[in-house]
């Protein structure tokens, strides 16, 4: 196990601790956590998966979006103990060893990012959309991404990036 929580004790001795086991990007991971530990913090500091960003920390910006049993959720608004026994996909799970995921390619090809802070959350929300709706309209993309804020792009190229990815995914599926 690679949990930082087992290598470095950050938990005071007098607080309750729970063992959680979570499948993260297909791999079973375990950690001993305080009940108050947020899923975003377990992913970043416990499992070292710093692609999941914490932006606003108030359930607004969506930078911390991960897929929880396939559904997009804001990992700053979930306790790690709530994720015990469940499946979590983070942005690190998008690319294969040799190539980018079409959603990542789309953001690259269509310049769907500037600073990149919101991008992991945008891509995970887009992944959930495209799995449910492989051929979304521009309006459907904007609605699906309405829980994700970007302060750089004005969203135009993000929408184009998702359309690009949808085209590529449909072409490769067909």
């Amino acid at each position: 196990m690679t949990s930082l929580y087992e290598e470095v004790s950050v938990t005071p001795v007098d607080v309750p601790v729970r063992r959680v086991t979570i499948t993260v990007n297909g791999e079973r991971r375990a950690a001993d956590v305080e009940p108050r530990l947020l899923l975003a913090h377990l992913l970043r500091q416990g499992f070292g998966l710093t692609g999941t960003h914490t932006g606003c920390d108030t359930t607004n910006c969506g930078a911390c979006t991960v897929l929880f049993d396939g559904r997009p959720v804001k990992s700053c608004t979930m306790l790690a103990v709530q994720a015990d026994g469940h499946d979590v996909q983070t942005v690190e799970g998008l690319a294969s060893a040799s190539e980018l995921h079409p959603i990542q390619e789309g953001f690259k090809e269509e310049h769907g990012l500037q600073c990149g802070y919101c991008t992991p959350g945008m891509m995970m929300a887009a992944k959930a959309l495209l799995e449910e709706n492989p051929d979304p309209s521009e309006d459907e993309i904007r609605w699906a991404l309405s829980g994700n804020l970007c302060r750089c792009t004005g969203y135009q190229n993000i929408v184009k990036a998702v359309l690009w990815a949808a085209d590529k995914l449909r072409a490769s599926a067909g």
């Binding site: 607080v15 309750p16 729970r18 305080e34 009940p35 108050r36 947020l38 913090h41 920390d57 108030t58 359930t59 607004n60 969506g62 979006t65 929880f68 559904r71 997009p72 959720v73 804001k74 608004t77 979930m78 306790l79 103990v81 709530q82 929300a125 959930a128 609605w143 699906a144 309405s146 829980g147």
Partner: protein, 274 residues
């Protein structure tokens, strides 16, 4: 932001949850989807010492046809209310309003029972279920009881639930083909309503609920009385704020909220009754 420390227990059933909440007392809270409670705990507006996690009580997630009403399990998530074909057919106003709670991520986690029990007057579903004349079912150590939505909301974040009672089901009368409209006025798609209006109308009968117009969701009875008396949508909407007691905040003054309530009620009635 990190919540204050608390202990955490998991309930496998409603009965176990009620037993646990009784065991831990007033400082314990139920945790459903956590999308009202966890943000409040991160801001330390709420500091329960124990969370009783009811999120895994899977038999409280359902949408069933109950004859004259639709019964919705308290742990049904907003996204499942939004996408329900049963609700689309029989209570389309509720399905539509659920599709405007928060944003997609929030709707995938938040539950209808959690939202109602949290009793935030700025939330969409308390006013919507109030307008629809819903009945809530609460389970406690002495059995279950029904609470009319009109009797449920007592003040900011305060409901008729006893500390050891749990909201288990929401029963919403079928709309029987009534016209309806949900008007949510906000600045970004994911925001709370600055003011919202949920309305249905069938001939001279209507129900109008107001979001964020008092310390509780508001049933605009004067509007319904005006419609019953033959008033037009525009005439009836003038009475929209009669039962309201709005507060000013960063987004709106009292006067602006009253104005919005009238305009949105007129639009809602024109859409519902038109």
């Amino acid at each position: 932001m990190i919540p204050a420390a608390f202990d955490y227990v998991r309930a496998g059933s409603a009965a176990e949850a009620i037993q646990l909440i009784g065991q831990y007392g007033d400082e314990a809270k139920f945790l459903a989807g956590g999308h009202s409670l966890v943000p409040a705990m991160k801001l330390r507006l709420a500091q329960p010492t124990v969370l009783v996690d009811i999120g895994r009580v899977s038999d409280l997630s359902y949408i069933r046809d109950g004859g004259d009403h639709i019964a919705i399990g308290a742990l049904t998530r907003h996204m499942d209310v939004e996408k329900s074909p049963v609700l689309a057919e029989h209570v389309p106003l509720l399905a539509h309003a659920a599709g405007h709670v928060g944003d997609p991520q929030v709707r995938h986690r938040g539950t209808i029972g959690g939202s109602l029990a949290h009793a935030d007057p700025a939330s969409d579903l308390p006013a919507t279920t109030l307008a629809l004349g819903a009945t809530y079912v609460a389970e406690g150590p002495n059995g279950t009881r029904e609470i009319a939505a009109a009797d449920f909301y007592q003040g900011y974040f305060t409901s008729a639930l006893a500390p050891d009672e749990m909201l288990t089901e929401i029963r919403v009368p079928k709309m029987g083909g009534a016209g309806w409209s949900f008007q949510k006025f906000n600045r970004r798609a994911q925001d709370w309503a600055i003011v919202g209006v949920a309305a249905w109308q069938r001939g001279s009968e209507c129900g109008v609920g107001l979001v964020n117009m008092a310390s509780t969701p508001v049933l605009a009875s004067s509007v319904a009385a005006a419609i019953a008396g033959g008033a037009s949508a525009a005439e009836a909407a003038e009475a929209a704020a009669s039962e309201a007691d709005p507060q000013a905040d960063l987004n709106a003054s009292v006067e602006y909220r009253v104005h919005l309530a009238k305009v949105l009620t007129r639009r809602a009635l024109e859409a519902a009754g038109g």
